[in-house]
Symmetry: C2
DNA sequence: CGGCTCCTTGATCAAGGTCAAGACATGTGG
DNA sequence: CCACATGTCTTGACCTTGATCAAGGAGCCG
């Protein structure tokens, strides 16, 4: 495989400061660099499958990833996303469980793979690092619990409005105000937990009401206040 | 307050072996005993409120607890339960966040309160203990993510069947085969994420179909296989 | 015996899922 | 560069699920 990217050097990596790795010492980061392996994934590639045993943790260097669970009828439910600086699969590694989601590249992605034992050793020897990991998983647990509340009590309309707001918060906007991520209507539906057709209908309704603008897969917020009101936060 | 219970002694506590505290040394457990405070809560008492800052972690010694989030219209969504041996609130303490749920006693409950700093110090100094905590929160995260999938994709009927199975797994049955917990129909509805009336109608349907037996608030499984089939696991 | 809370049942209706069909867009190989 | 195939988007029609409202019954406690 020809690499179209320069392999990041951990102790110097641009994403290090945004990740739990910021707690590593120079020495630890240098060692990490010796043990990791960097790899490019094309858009649509599966990074790992739900239910499979993983050999290590991935640190996202470039690109965006969706993590989803698959229901009994094969229907997908997106649980969360990952972007540069995020770690994925570390919960499975630390708790010695099989992967609880499937990770798939939303665009071309570069990941650094850290072998399980290396990662676990870091967590065991560097208290600041392990506390950062605990905080990460607690935060994510909180996110998931909020999601539960949302699914259980809100209408599809409210959920879609909230989802748009969450997407903008997580991915930010480009210089034209469009959310920095391209999702199909089906993918949006599998975040919101609804049918693709419902997403389409509601998005065009939002557009008609001048709350958002649509340009292909790109979404731009026109009226944040009203959206928040619909989301009923 | 007169205590109608004998205060448990940590290093000797019957629940210690079922909790993350099993990783404590004798010395650590003895110190823990000096720092903790034990308290009785009556059925219905609120132990802490969502959004409040907590001063420590609770270890459940006796009784059952529900943990719920409250939605925008005041509707409650039960996120999980706790029983003897479980720790509650430790995620908020470790991640230094306000409580993300409200904890309420389902029956008379005895809790031991461990001050935040004592708990954090244990987590920082005892690697086995902190790894156990990480595993706990990862496991809970997995539970929450499964819950999301369930809410997003399953019918109320399927969810109720699955909920009954989860209750039996978590609380076990008494010698007559009834699930060891008494929940109102409303509480069951706020686990399943539906209206009280729907729970009532479906429970009587399950009873009519000889899947379960009902005796007041007590539920007994008659046909596990069929329930599992309905739950569509 | 009121006054609670909880349970139950029936009637109604809207939200949203499903199905079907076609438009549009994108990429592929000839 | 075109023709075709495939994936995505859109719209309309229909119908099921389950929420809501209303009213009454059952059990429990001071």
């Amino acid at each position: 495989m020809d690499k179209k990217f320069s392999e990041p050097i951990c102790y110097n990596c641009v994403v290090k400061e945004y990740s739990a790795f910021k707690h590593l010492s120079r020495y630890e980061a240098e060692n990490l660099f010796l043990d990791k392996a960097c790899k490019l994934y094309k858009k649509g590639d599966i990074i790992y499958h739900e239910g499979h045993r993983l050999r290590g943790v991935y640190c996202v260097y470039k690109g965006k990833i969706k993590l989803y669970k698959t229901g009994s009828e094969g229907k997908k439910q997106i649980i969360r996303f990952a972007k540069p600086g995020d770690l994925i699969a570390f919960r499975s590694i630390l708790s010695d469980e099989v992967a609880c989601t499937t990770a798939q590249a939303l665009e071309d992605v570069v990941l650094c793979h850290i072998p399980a034992q290396v990662f676990i050793n870091l967590a065991k020897t560097n208290t600041n690092f392990s506390m950062a990991l605990i905080k990460l998983s607690c935060k994510e647990l909180d996110e998931s619990n909020k999601f539960i509340l949302k699914l259980a009590q809100k209408s599809v309309r409210e959920r879609l409005a909230e989802t748009i707001l969450l997407l903008i918060e997580y991915f930010n906007t480009d210089n034209q105000g469009f959310i920095n991520v391209s999702l199909t209507r089906e993918e949006i539906a599998s975040i919101v937990g609804t049918a693709t057709e419902s997403v389409i209908r509601l998005l065009s309704e939002f557009k008609k009401d001048k709350l958002i603008d649509l340009k292909g897969k790109k979404i731009k917020i026109l009226d944040m206040k009203k959206l928040e009101k619909i989301a009923n936060l």
